[in-house]
């Protein structure tokens, strides 16, 4: 069974600290791959093609970028952030989920990362579990399966195209099926549409 390894990104300008953390993580039981990012923009770009589950960051890198960090977390709710505490932060920063210091034992650091990973997996599971579609989403799905365009669906159901697009996004999120032909099979398996209505 193949599950992509946990993707951890480290944003820390010091090569010594980066390599130290990388060594600790790679020698731990965590099934993961580690990337290095230099700036926040680089992380944002990376989220697009190979999503990061945990970011380990030097909080100094967030200075004056608080707004961007919050935005990133809003767009990618499954991203967890661990801050490296250099002893200059007196209270837990609002931007990080956990923090550790460079003097913590490797076991302690790995343990905190594992807890973070469980948390992010849980939230992903919760998302998947809500598979039941709302009555409105079922209506939109039926239209889609019958080959209607967004504009036609909007006119028929008396809603805006924007709302149709939102319903479609939610349908994909709930079912895990993205393509139109895949959704057709989903709708038939779930008996949302009758198979006789579909041309093969």
């Amino acid at each position: 069974m193949y599950k992509p390894p946990l993707h951890i990104a480290i944003m820390e300008p010091s090569k010594i600290i980066f390599e130290g953390l990388q060594t600790i993580i790679c020698h731990s039981p965590l099934d993961c791959r580690v990337s290095r990012v230099e700036r926040l923009e680089e992380l944002t770009e990376m989220m697009g093609h190979s999503p990061v589950a945990i970011l380990i960051a030097n909080p100094m890198q967030f200075v004056n970028l608080e707004k961007e960090v919050r935005k990133l977390r809003k767009v990618y709710p499954t991203l967890s952030i661990a801050g490296i505490d250099f002893g200059i932060i007196h209270r837990q920063s609002m931007l990080t989920d956990i923090s550790f210091t460079l003097y913590d034992t490797p076991e302690h650091i790995v343990h905190s990362l594992m807890k973070l990973q469980e948390k992010s997996q849980q939230s992903e599971q919760e998302k998947v579990e809500e598979e039941n579609l709302s009555p409105r989403e079922i209506e939109v799905l039926t239209c889609l399966v019958n080959g209607m365009l967004n504009k036609e669906i909007a006119d028929l159901l008396n809603i805006s195209v924007h709302t149709v697009v939102r319903h479609r996004k939610n349908i994909t999120l709930k079912t895990g099926i993205r393509s139109q032909s895949g959704l057709t099979i989903y709708a038939i398996s779930k008996k949302i549409v009758s198979i006789e209505d579909i041309e093969i």
Binding site: Y2, G182, I185
Partner: protein
Amino acid sequence: MKMADLIDANPNLLLMLQHFNIDFRVSDMTVWQLCSRYGISENLLVSIANLYNGFDTKGHQPFTRKDLLQVISFLKNSHDYYRNDKYPQISNYIRELQENHPDREMKLLEKFFNEYFAEVLEHLDYEDSIAFPYFITLLDEGKAVEQGGRYSSKEYGEHHTDIELKLQDLKNLLLKYVNIEGDLDLRRKLLFALYELEFDLYLHSLIEENILIPSGVRIEKEQNV
């Protein structure tokens, strides 16, 4: 480190060897010996093996032109593996499943797969006939400049299709939704084949994104294409 020990730890590396045209009988050769026998730089083989083992390639030496030509041949070989081995295997399983369960739902699933397969072939052909020749010309010093302008590494990066997404759809349909009674042997074989394909496709795009595209962009910059 002996290659045989590495394979023992991660048998997926056999696929990597095959894509490099390296024979599986690796005897007691170390990675270094294997590389020199097959004329592959250690930097390249270790970088790709690291990707197979879940590590990033950052921090490695820049890849030479010879390395990149070998990357292209590696990617081409993996196309052959998809075209001639993995997809026909999956296609046969699905056809067999459809014959055992001749209802309309399975028929739709087969149709879904056939359309998907056609898209995949189109994408592979595109890479073989446009993208790879472009990179080969680019790597052939001095020639690329007049060829440039029409095509670039960046465009190649953007041409990535939804091959992996549709594969995910197929897996989700089989695991969650489509009603099939029994036939567990066949269904397990089908699912395993889908997971194997998914794994290699994932590696394929990692190699394109982490090695080929950044190196292409670097060479374009040097040549001011």
